[in-house]
């Protein structure tokens, strides 16, 4: 009985955690929208929007994709992929602009 109650409490806690992260992701999207329409100078807006996107991606990967409680190897593999992706992204931009 106590075990069942404990499991239910744990399940409720996990669900609340997911809902909290889901709401946070929504709020961050709203903040991006408000900033975009608030007339913030582009030099400030672009880095802020990118930082907000990175926070959202971190929350997704850490909580929804369970990197916070998975094997460390998964994090290393995924981050390595993201680093290669960043290099490909920068290389593509440089290549295209250099031939612009």
């Amino acid at each position: 009985m106590a075990e069942a109650q404990g499991a239910a409490t744990h399940a409720g806690g996990a669900n609340r955690g997911y809902i909290a992260v889901g709401v946070t992701l929504g709020v961050l999207t709203v903040v991006s929208l408000i900033l975009a329409y608030a007339g913030v100078p582009l030099g400030i807006l672009i880095p802020v929007v990118i930082v907000l996107a990175v926070i959202q991606i971190y929350l997704q990967a850490d909580v929804f994709m369970h990197l916070n409680r998975s094997r460390r190897l998964y994090t290393i593999v995924f981050v390595a992929g993201a680093v290669v992706a960043l290099e490909v992204f920068l290389a593509t931009l440089i290549l295209m602009w250099a031939h612009g």
Binding site: L33, A36, A53, Q60, V63, V84, A85, V88
Partner: protein
């Protein structure tokens, strides 16, 4: 001797567990390679979208509130997928199926709205070959849409299989976990597309 006998079930367990761990690791490697794929598409879009502009550009076409609704739908589907996997962890198959159905429906709504968005832009005169903006936009957002389509198909297939079997096996659990990972990854890519392509594109 007794320790050798005791080791047999442990060895058998390791033998069973290895494929599941390998599948998870293999899927994370796949997601890492997907990062590279989308990075090249986003980089190409950013480099090309403002070149050879013939009339229609992000400012004239993009409807930010519409794209924001698409974003909220995918974020909500990520939450429902998370709740579904949490239910699976508790062995609550009925709740898991319910959340997965909601996730698939949200994915289908997203796809329907994206088809409508593409049809609107196409009708306004933005074609694949009309400008570099059109080519790079349709390629980037279209490939993301293909990923969502594959994700929805995967979720529906898993739902069908889950109805055919009584209990969730370890193998099925890994399939659901990897489908969830894929779905969250697709959401991560959309967050980037919304922020970089839509928001920054309209304001530039």
């Amino acid at each position: 001797m007794s320790s050798h006998v005791a080791d047999v079930p442990a060895a058998a367990h390791r033998h069973d567990a290895m494929p599941a761990e390998n599948q998870r690791l293999g899927f994370w490697i796949f997601l890492g390679s997907e990062c590279t794929f989308f990075a090249s598409l986003i980089g190409t879009y950013l480099a090309l979208h403002s070149r050879n502009m013939q009339g229609l550009g992000p400012r004239q076409l993009f409807d930010i509130p519409y794209a924001a609704v698409l974003t909220f739908i995918l974020l909500a589907s990520s939450l429902t997928m998370g709740l579904g996997v949490a239910a699976m962890g508790r062995g609550d198959k009925r709740t898991m199926r319910l959340w997965l159905i909601v996730t698939a429906v949200l994915g289908l709504i997203f796809l329907g709205m994206q088809v409508n968005e593409f049809a609107t832009y196409w009708g306004a005169g933005l074609h694949l070959n009309s400008s570099l903006f059109g080519a790079s936009f349709y390629t980037l957002v279209g490939f993301h849409g293909l990923h969502v389509t594959f994700g929805v198909t995967w979720i529906i297939a898993l739902l069908v299989f889950s109805w055919r079997s009584k209990d969730l096996t370890e193998k099925q659990t890994v399939y659901f976990e990897t489908a969830a990972l894929y779905w969250h990854f697709v959401d991560v890519v959309w967050i980037l597309i919304f922020s970089i392509v839509y928001l920054v594109g309209v304001l530039q």
